[in-house]
């Protein structure tokens, strides 16, 4: 077997390697640990249901998943969103297939203009507020069958008894259309759990920054590559880009290699570092018994 020297790869090879690594980690989490995102959000719903009913908030399994995932995100950024969330990975796959088909039939993929996407980013907070309010009022259970997540989880578990889930199915199909057109459509615009994550005070260890002074004038390669159109903050600042899913594509895209995380000497997308982060998350899931 020929050994690949990962220290002397071309830029393109390095980019491909990081892309493959991410895809493999996403696939493994999708196959074996697909329920963490709904469990964590069930924790949010549970807390507000209990508050509305005047009941005590127990440390249930849902609440533990919520707390652990929030702590993980505060330390490591939204690595869970970018690498381990089954619904996010599903969206990446849908988008990949759409772009691939467009390439085959030589049509330009449809893209949403930035003025629209920046406004749509606020919708997830509305989604979160509405769900939380329904839980607080104690009427959330009446909306059974509306959630596209339920439909997705049921299909993932090969449970196709979707009677009574018509609205959920319709919503899921509409979301899939959006996922195709815009990378991370659901995560960025609609995900109520993402709304919670995006408001967390992420520590400056793994959040990505750029050396602004060294940037090529007028270059915005990173922002164009970013599924959330983020203009990265200046290195050394504590600014938080709440919508960054840690997809790490910007790091390899920058022509000057200007983008890096907050840890000294590291870019943030080193293969070993990514595997360590994925394994820590895996360890936490096993510990939680998901």
């Amino acid at each position: 077997m020929s050994k690949i020297d990962i220290h002397h790869l071309t830029k393109k090879q390095r980019k491909q390697m990081h892309g493959w690594l991410r895809a493999i980690i996403q696939l493994l989490y999708f196959l074996f640990l697909p329920s963490a995102y709904t469990a964590a959000f069930a924790g949010v719903k549970y807390i507000f249901t209990q508050l509305g009913a005047g009941e005590k908030i127990g440390l249930t399994s849902f609440v533990s998943v919520l707390i652990v995932l929030c702590l993980y995100t505060i330390v490591f950024g939204r690595f869970f969103c970018g690498f381990a969330c089954a619904f996010g990975s599903f969206g990446d796959a849908v988008h990949f297939v759409y772009v691939w088909i467009c390439k085959k039939i030589k049509k330009k993929p449809v893209k949403l203009p930035e003025t629209v996407t920046s406004k749509l980013s606020m919708v997830k907070y509305v989604v979160l507020a509405v769900i939380v309010l329904l839980c607080f009022k104690g009427v959330y259970s009446q909306t059974q069958g509306y959630s596209p997540w339920d439909v997705f989880s049921m299909m993932h578990a090969f449970n196709f008894k979707l009677g009574g889930y018509l609205l959920g199915v319709v919503l899921l199909v509409l979301i899939m259309v959006g996922m195709a057109v815009q990378e991370r459509f659901f995560c960025r615009f609609l995900c109520p759990m993402g709304a919670v994550f995006s408001l967390l005070p992420m520590l400056p260890f793994f959040t990505l920054k750029r050396e602004r002074e060294q940037c090529i004038k007028g270059c915005s390669a990173c922002t164009k590559q970013c599924p959330s159109d983020i203009g990265l903050p200046e290195a050394g600042s504590l600014d938080v880009s709440g919508d960054c899913f840690q997809c790490q594509k910007c790091i390899d895209t920058c022509p000057r290699m200007n983008i890096h995380c907050g840890l000294p000497g590291l870019k943030g997308n080193e293969v070993v570092l990514t595997i360590i982060r994925a394994l820590i998350l895996l360890g936490l899931f096993i510990w939680l018994g998901i």
Partner: protein, 150 residues
């Protein structure tokens, strides 16, 4: 720079509020418990009688002694349970297998077991948030109890 600290302060406030809320409720619970224990003590004789009565009822009870098995559909697959009936009443319910259920959901759904034992019937409310898994447990117990019914 500012956003980070605003977020950090908000998070600390939310966590503090929730912990405060829980503490207040715990204190109230304790007061309630003291009141309830006092009331129980006062009606000790009455209580004893009613217990003996219910034991007689149970002995004559609705279920046949033994360990009964039941199975029903959960979220991703079948859930198998074993229901132990002693002296005519349900004393224990254990989940034999639930391979296709997610851990976090299943452990939430298991909260339905004490409710079923208290009610001595599978006709109880399901656990919200873990509807599928708890319905599976409930139906599996119902199936076991059908066999145990005299």
């Amino acid at each position: 720079m500012k956003t980070f600290w605003v977020r950090a302060v908000n998070l600390v406030l939310i966590v503090a509020l929730l912990i405060g809320y829980n503490t207040v409720l715990t204190l109230r619970d304790k007061d309630d418990q003291i009141a309830k224990l006092t009331a129980d003590l006062e009606s000790a004789n009455l209580y004893k009688q009613s217990v003996m009565q219910s034991q007689e009822d149970a002995a004559g009870g609705s279920y046949e002694d033994g360990i009964w098995k039941g199975e029903a559909q959960g979220f991703g697959g079948a859930i198998q349970v074993e229901v132990t009936v002693e002296g005519g009443s349900i004393t224990d319910i254990s989940i034999v297998s639930a391979e296709k259920e997610d851990g976090a959901y299943l452990s939430m759904a298991e909260d339905i077991i004490p409710t079923i034992i208290d009610a001595q019937s599978a006709d109880v409310d399901t656990i919200s948030g873990a509807t599928f898994s708890s319905t599976g447990i409930k139906n599996a117990v119902a199936q076991a109890l059908e066999e145990a019914a005299k």
